[in-house]
Subunit: 408 residues, 2 copies
């Protein structure tokens, strides 16, 4: 199956979409995704609000006031910020008011303090006020009932501020997809345990758990499962029962003990969606749907596993968490070396970026290592995609690098 | 004080730097910052590892083997993956081996299965093997003692994978700075409570707590503190005692109840570092150092508070968490309208981005609203900086927009 066919199969058969909702505290809602539109339950501001320090007046009372011809009004009181006005303004009256305070009944404008002079409760106004001048009227910013945030918005500082402005402290968001992560293979043992002779430490359950988190999912680390058929079947059934999606690595090659595809397919209907991919690396990738839950069985090679996760599993997790499937950030660079593709396969070359003397970005391939060099993981900044139709990218060719790290 | 002077004062007087260390589980270490270099305690691979399926041999035994002239060897056993070899290879012998399995004692090459034929324990080898062919030698990827990650590296999926490869499950990282966030002002009340007449809901303690989290800090939400001098003093003392940094908003203007700068300065030595800034918005910003703890007293206007936080407080939190102070991502756009600066002040104009018919990004200013329109927060994608020396940015001028949201 080609890479594009696999992407289509994922969309059409896995049909990844947001899971259910839950209510969380607004203080814990950062980076969560709104489940439903939010309409304001308030007018904001909730009262006619003075936008300056000065005097609340009836505009018509100031008619004709000029620098040389003040109008005289009687100061009948003070309006403080944060309190309902204790007074109302009748014809010929004014009230001292500060920025943010509610404009009292009867007043329809505020004259800035600069254009006034007060002496023994007598106020001289040196400028004609117009109706609503320096008044932010109730509901000007947000009207009660107005939709101010939309379902699907990711909650950052501004959105959480807007929700707080409405007095909201709990918010309905999409559930975070729970993704079980396990590794299989006779050669791997879990970090933290003693390393038996002939084994290596498992990398993938850790790196893929982290990648799940970075994609907006909640990883459940299940460690290493023996590559015994019965054990693997049991472990995958348990994983499916306790999660929304399962990601495995290892056991997908053609060796006699590479049982994962077979076991995955036996877990339930509809079963396998992708069995092998015309890509390099990542050829033995297997993807299945068991009930409504996607299962990604990735290669054991740590770099391949992380790359295929990034390309195919990450968008599924994003969609399951109610986010749009986000394109990977890319940068333009020059190929530092000729990079060859694998015949007939979409090829991804891991690259490191550096700048040349003229400050241009240069992409140099990072050796992947036939047997799974893990240092590739630490060295690569991103990857370059070579289409099936291309034999190679030539030295100095302008290319697009998809970033796996925040390097630029 | 100019904006640049304030930045210098922050660097020179606040001297923000990483706090102490703590040890966390590798599974919880995502997005944390390594406290110290990590050297490998292992050779990786920990044994000479076969990179293919085939037969482990002595290379010299295959000398002269060709397609028409096979060399005959005796198959003395099988080497499984994940187990120490139970056999060793003597002259004239070979052992069946799979990818990832340890090459047994005595063997120094692996012949790919494609170039062999086995019958009744007799192996025909049709190709001459060279020493180390198809063998990834012990320590080739990582040598024991080699530094593989550096202090200051942020732990993403690849780095966590590399640490797992070493068998590590706990890692020393920099502590996350704890940042207390509170609002003050007679006009604000906490979301979740009933809204008294004349008040509005506090936005800033929520939006700034979220911004702290997004900057790599751990926010402690302290809600709204009365603008009574004694109360504010007590609240700030408590906040300082339980955190590494304090962020307040409100109470920094010139009104009689705008006590924050005065109270902040009375908290201890050395005291105020920035008292007012020649910027718009954000003029009344106050920054202090109390003992070793930074205090940022931001304006009450929600957009100003978040903007000044982003420009000045965020880099401090990043440095305190061991990260480099990261530049805000920018994009090039065309000014959709003429944007004016405030005379003699560095001016930041909040803008919304859209694309025109020719797919060019156009930046349109978002009305900030004299009295703190909170919808600005929800609408703005970023901001444009106008230097003190410029009066305006003209329509169609090419400008740089600093992104506050992930919009492009």
């Amino acid at each position: 199956m080609t890479f594009d066919e696999a992407k289509r199969a994922i969309n059409e058969q896995l049909k990844p979409k947001a899971l259910g909702e839950e209510e969380v505290s607004l203080l814990e809602a950062n980076n969560r995704v709104l489940k439903e539109d939010v309409a304001s339950t308030l007018d904001i501001p909730p009262f006619n609000r003075s936008t300056v320090d000065g005097y609340a007046v009836k505009a018509e009372d100031t008619l004709g006031a000029e620098e040389n011809q003040p109008v005289k009004l009687e100061v009948c009181g003070v309006v403080n910020v944060g309190e309902p006005p204790k007074i109302s303004i009748s014809k010929g009256e004014a009230a001292e008011i500060v920025t943010g305070a509610p404009v009292p009944e009867g007043a329809d404008a505020v004259v800035m303090v600069e254009y006034t002079e007060e002496k023994d409760d007598e106020l001289r106004v040196y400028r004609t006020a117009t109706t609503d001048e320096n008044v932010m009227k109730r509901g000007t910013d947000i009207k009660k009932g107005e939709t101010i945030l939309k379902a699907g918005q990711v909650l950052g500082a501004p959105e959480i501020g807007v929700l707080a402005a409405l007095g909201i402290t709990k918010v309905k968001v999409f559930k975070v997809p729970v993704v079980a992560v396990l590794s299989t293979g006779a050669e791997v043992t879990e970090p933290g345990k003693e390393l038996p002779a002939g084994k290596i430490y498992d990398i993938n359950a850790y790196s893929l758990s982290t990648a799940v988190r970075e994609s907006g999912g909640k990883p459940v680390y299940l460690g290493v499962v023996s590559d015994d058929k019965t054990e693997l079947h049991k472990a995958l059934e348990r994983a499916l029962a306790s999660s929304d999606m399962v990601v495995t690595s290892g056991g997908v090659s053609v060796g006699p003990r590479d049982l994962t595809p077979q076991v995955v397919n036996s877990l339930g209907e509809p079963g396998l969606v992708v069995s092998g991919l015309a890509v390099k690396p990542g050829k033995p990738t297997t993807i299945a749907l068991i009930g409504r839950k996607p299962v990604f069985a990735l290669p054991g090679h740590p770099t391949s596993a992380l790359l295929i996760f990034h390309l195919l599993a990450r968008p599924v997790i994003q969609l399951m968490s109610g986010r749009p499937a986000k394109e990977t950030t890319t940068v333009k660079a020059k190929a530092g070396t000729r990079m060859f593709s694998a015949k007939g396969r979409r090829t991804f070359v891991m690259v490191k970026l550096k700048r040349n003397k003229s400050n241009r970005l240069i992409a140099e391939p990072v050796e992947t290592g036939a047997s799974g060099a893990i240092t590739t993981l630490a060295k690569a900044d991103g990857f370059v995609e070579i289409p099936e139709t291309h034999q190679f990218i030539d030295t100095d060719e302008e290319i697009t690098v998809a970033l796996l790290k925040d390097v630029i």
